[in-house]
């Protein structure tokens, strides 16, 4: 898979409280099918060092690809640990407030645009998806 310009696709890593990460990924795959380079880490049973270690292990083997770390709650331990894990890494960003529309958009669009554009697109997509349904 590539970003449409010959670069390897962006890797996705979901890091959350509870079992949300696995369930988000599983649910996204129910909708759009199996995804490569998409990982889920649940922080519940792990100490901080193990969460950080798992994230580093994944971003360490991504080669030239960019990576996006999705976390559930801004300021939570998953967020703090993710920021710590990617400190100093080029081409890796941490995005908080993950929801299903963001992940679906990421999975279906990550081969089609450059990294920075992808990040902006996902933030827009996430925000647009939060609304009162008033028909």
């Amino acid at each position: 898979m590539s970003d449409g310009m010959g670069n390897p696709a962006i890797a996705g890593i979901i890091v959350t409280h509870g079992r949300l990460a696995e369930e988000l990924l599983r649910t996204a795959e129910l909708i759009i099918g199996h995804q490569e380079e998409f990982y889920a880490i649940s922080g519940s049973d792990l100490c901080d060092e193990n969460v950080i270690g798992k994230i580093r292990e994944i971003i360490g083997k991504r080669g030239d690809a960019k990576a996006l770390v999705f976390v559930d709650y801004f300021g939570g331990s998953c967020c703090i640990n993710s920021v710590r894990a990617v400190e100093g890494e080029e081409g890796v960003k941490v995005m908080s407030g993950v929801n299903l529309p963001i992940l679906l958009s990421f999975a279906t669009k990550r081969g089609t645009m450059p990294f920075e554009e992808m990040v902006d697109h996902l933030i827009r997509r996430g925000r647009e998806s939060v609304k009162v349904i008033d028909l």
Binding site: G75, G76, S77, I80
Partner: protein, 157 residues
């Protein structure tokens, strides 16, 4: 006034800010940790996790002891956080009196053994807890205000 003194290796995070924060409505969170206080990057990281309605102080253990004793936080409801059990002893040895400490989050890592859900201690930490118990400190083992409170004193002896 310190309304909650907690040992939690994650320091500022959801359980503290939301779980305890919504029950106790603190004005300020004080972190006492030498390593974090010494790094601007670490201080900024933890400060970013504090909601706008709470103030935050990230201090070394000696600074924290001096400010707590000196009445800097008088009139404020304070949640005091340390990462390591030994920091509780250090604060006491610096003259900050402690009668009770909440043992909330010491997560599993190699060498640590489970004491209760969410609380794992290694041998050195257990020795510190024993010393705290010996000095009459109540060890309140509990992740959240609504969790069943387990007095750890008898479990660490």
């Amino acid at each position: 006034m310190v309304i909650l003194f907690r040992i939690d290796d994650r320091l500022i995070h959801g359980q503290v800010v939301l779980g305890w924060g919504s029950a106790l409505k603190p004005d300020r969170i004080v972190v006492a940790d030498d390593e974090i206080a010494a790094s601007e990057w670490e201080r900024n990281l933890y400060a970013s996790a504090v909601p706008p309605e709470m103030k935050v102080s990230i201090l070394s253990v000696p600074e924290a002891a001096a400010q707590l004793k000196g009445g800097v936080f008088k009139g404020e409801k304070v949640i005091l956080l340390v990462k390591h059990p030994k920091s509780v002893l250090a604060l006491m040895d610096l003259g900050f009196p402690v009668s009770e400490v909440n043992v909330g989050g010491l997560h599993y890592r190699e060498g640590r053994e489970k004491v209760l859900e969410g609380v794992f201690l290694d041998a050195a930490e257990r020795a510190v807890m024993r010393e705290l118990a010996k000095r009459g400190v109540v060890l309140d083992g509990r992740a959240l205000p609504g969790s069943p409170a387990l007095k750890l004193n008898s479990r660490v002896v």
